[in-house]
């Protein structure tokens, strides 16, 4: 079957029940989305499907049905970072970094629908993304900073 990831079409020969995360990492070598738990409990595998955050470990490739996939590799580029990525660097959010691509993809999707969130909104949107290093205060600060930049832009 054919899937489009970060604007590029790929042909993959896999079972329709294979989770999207497996296809991305093992078939296409796109390793930004991380394997954390495999059961939608941690958020490390978060990608966008037509702009909405999805835990890629939970979506069977056969259920993608032609929708476009964006991973952290396609959110911005080194020359032109996404506003959320800039905010992450400005706030030096990452510690070990394993969960951060999922955190950033979740935050970018959330801010696209709610550009002016308060702390309660941020906590409700981001609590499904776990960080074992405990960078939560910096994650919240970065989301707020990104929201401010989005409003100014």
């Amino acid at each position: 079957m054919q899937i489009t990831v970060n604007g590029e079409a790929h042909d993959v020969d896999v079972e329709p029940e294979m989770p999207l995360l497996w296809v991305l990492r093992d078939e296409l070598g796109i390793t930004g989305p991380k394997y954390g738990c495999g059961i939608a409990q941690c958020g490390a595998c978060t990608v966008h499907i037509n702009g909405y955050a999805i835990r890629s470990c939970q979506l069977a490739i056969g259920d993608l049905k032609g929708r476009e996939v964006t991973t952290i590799e396609g959110l911005g580029s080194p020359e032109s970072l996404h506003i959320v990525q800039e905010a992450w660097i400005d706030n030096q959010v990452a510690q070990c970094g394993y969960c951060q691509s999922g955190q950033i993809m979740q935050a970018a999707s959330f801010l696209a629908t709610k550009p002016d969130p308060n702390d309660e909104d941020i906590d409700a949107a981001m609590s499904g993304n776990l960080c074992r290093c405990g960078t939560y205060p910096r994650i919240r600060a970065a989301v707020k900073a990104a929201a401010k930049k989005l409003q100014e832009s």
Binding site: I39, A40, G128
Partner: protein, 210 residues
């Protein structure tokens, strides 16, 4: 000797037919004739309906004014709100915060083993959602749910026939009887529940407090 196998064959056939019915999600909507159900039989049907409505597989997502789904029942241990600070918002699908479908992804209708992994987010062949505010069942009594369900203002303006159709068409409801992942299913079967709804309707929806 041959005859000894007959009950086994009949049982095997019955189990196979039941399994196929679950797999096909087919429900027969055949109400009893008007006037054929006594009030007492209607109340017995209601009693079974309440067992279903108040079961965790149903009630956990019928939380009323609260936009927080619940985790309760034998497979969840202590009753508590859904982990991860989940809120469904006024949209009831989490659009204001985190869409339910972020984790409860939509699966194909013909994929039967989607929920076999314990603790994984359940998925069905439609968008996951919290029930409307007015359909408040969690922690409520048989009298309260009975009144809510027979009152058109709080049941989606549905007749009992339309509630049976709703049970047939809204595939998220079918999950309650095939939850997978070690979760306890709702009691009875989808077909038996639909039959009870129709029976209760023909009895003119009696409630225990009447």
């Amino acid at each position: 000797m041959k005859n000894l196998h007959l009950p086994l064959i009949a049982l095997t056939t019955a189990l196979l037919v039941a399994a196929m019915a679950v797999a096909d999600n087919k429900v027969e909507i055949k109400p009893p004739p008007e006037g054929s159900v006594t009030v007492e039989q209607g109340l017995q049907a209601w009693s079974r309906i309440y067992e279903v409505a108040s079961h965790p597989r149903c009630a956990n997502c019928h939380t009323g004014e609260s936009d927080r789904p619940m985790w309760s029942g034998p497979s969840y241990g202590k009753t508590r709100v859904h982990g991860m600070n989940i809120r469904a918002g006024a949209s009831r699908v989490g659009a204001e915060y985190l869409l339910c479908s972020t984790c409860h992804t939509t699966k194909s209708e013909d994929w039967q083993n989607a929920n076999s992994v314990a603790h994984a987010a359940p998925r069905v062949a439609m968008n996951w959602a919290l029930a409307p505010v007015e359909a408040h069942w969690f922690g409520r009594s048989t009298e309260q749910i009975c009144e809510q369900l027979r009152e058109p203002l709080t049941n989606g303006n549905r007749s009992m026939l339309e509630i049976a159709e709703h049970l047939n068409h809204d595939l998220i409801l079918h999950w309650a009887w095939a939850p997978g992942g070690g979760r306890e299913p709702a009691p009875y079967s989808l077909q038996e529940h639909v039959n009870d709804i129709l029976t209760w309707g023909v009895a003119d929806t009696p409630c225990p407090q009447d």
